[in-house]
Amino acid sequence: MKDLKIIVCLKPVPDPECPASSLEINRETKTILPIGVPPVINPYDENALEAALKVKDATGVKVIAVSMVEKQPGGVFHKVRTGADELVVLQDAGFKDLDSYSTALVLATAIQKISGYDLILTGRQSADWSSGLVGSMIAEILNIPSITIAKGVRVEEDSVIVEKLKKNGYEILKTSMPALITMSSEIGDLRLFPLKAINEARKKPMTVWGMTDIGISPEQIAIRKIFALSPPPSRKRDCMFINGQSPEEKGEVLAQRLRQDRVI
């Protein structure tokens, strides 16, 4: 049996753990500038890479990572290159601020150029714009089956078996390949790699394609239309701190206070 080809789509985002104060919101230019916040790979996309590696643990797999960026990405892909066999960077100034459909179109067009894929894995949503649309839109454009928000993926002959999260519990679905699956964090964090693999990551193949390389013209894609940007509404409440000599005493005082204020 030939090796499976799994494509993982991933995206650099400003570290989602950053405090709100580190995002500078410019109302004039309608842009958000992260101050001193390093870019990281979108955590759900790392989950997707981990899902690909879990399939690879069980069978022969070639993992190709694909990412769309507007400018030279620096070192953010190092961990991705360690885990994947190949990296394809779609880099073009014209890829800045694309809307969900255009992003899906660029990725789908590049994936068609890569060709011969069996599975496409992405994160369920990004930590910055969190639309959760791009994955299933790629599947629509490529006209292949898709399953969203999965916590487990395994390959069985020509089929893929997927554990899809539901409101309570999950369901097991099966579909033919090629297929697209979007992954949630329940699959587990991206694994740690041995030092040797980390050191050798740079030697792995990396391809950079611009808009013309994949045959996309500017008229086919559109940017997000932002009317205004603002800080979130304040969630501040006046916190009444409960005093006491010990944690136990504070617990008791809290109970009395909640009764006094008719909360309980």
């Binding site: 400003p14 930590a127 969190s130 959760g132 078996i161 309570n168 097991i172 329940e186 979130p232 409440r237």
Partner: protein
Amino acid sequence: MVINNNGEKIIVLAEKEDGKTAYFTYELLRAGKELADKMGTKLCIVVAGNNVGTISNEMAYFSAEVYMLDHPLLENFQADIYANAMVQCFKSMNPDTIILGHTLDNIDLASKVACRIGAQVLTDITHLDRGTDNNELLCEKPIYGDKAIATFTMGRSPRMVTLRPKIMAALEKGSGKGTIIPFPLALDRSMAKTEFVESIPGESVSLDKADAIVAGGRGIKEVEGIKYLKDLAQTLKRFYGAVELGASRPLVDNGFFPPSRQIGLTGEKVAPELYFAIAISGASQHLSGITGSKKIVAINKDEQASIFESADYGVVGDYEKVIPALARKLKELP
């Protein structure tokens, strides 16, 4: 000069739960009604499922037109079948804007339907308004983990949005009764691109309906810590009808709680009378799920934890010591 192809109808897709209208539907209806009034268009409701006559009948008190999509293949949600049904219906309706609840299933549905009917689509919207000209739609959406708000312009129709729960107040039903229009669907099983194997039900959790919630966060290092939360939840049942346990994402990722108990941006949005945040640091992604809570109590041993800024009552202390004393005292209250 922008040529604008305007649709006629604001369409709300009704949400179901256990064969009945889900409460979320009334929130969507308010958003739809207010938008229809602003746009000078009319509100229509689509009800889809199997044996949805009763729900459709109830929905007719909220709108002049209810499109009933009743089909055995719509019994359970299968994204491709549902997308096919929606596409058939929407194509005949000349939609201006289609409003769906922001649920796991609907995000999937919205992306498929939008591609097939050529609609623009935005998800997790918290406010809808009419734009300044050309009947543009303005959509507010929290971004960057709720650390900023973007207002998007959506131009031409059709447009689709998924609306965040617990933002709008429920719409009361009107006096008159509208028409129920049974919509004929051409569906067959082969439209489904995925095959159902089996369902693994989790415990039944109704965080969205809870009166009181005890939620734990990253500061709970051992699974044994959960018993303190359970004790407090049990004690609160003296005072509140529906009490649930919840968690912020770290405790779901590490397996202490199932995903159905996750509260926040990618979990449930809740609005209980009383919310206990136990050892929760207060990341914006978690706060986005609890802002509707009437009273928030934070217990955290780190006095710098940002949760205190969003709490009504704060206790700086170790939850393992605070909770037993709190629960004991609560039991003694007359």
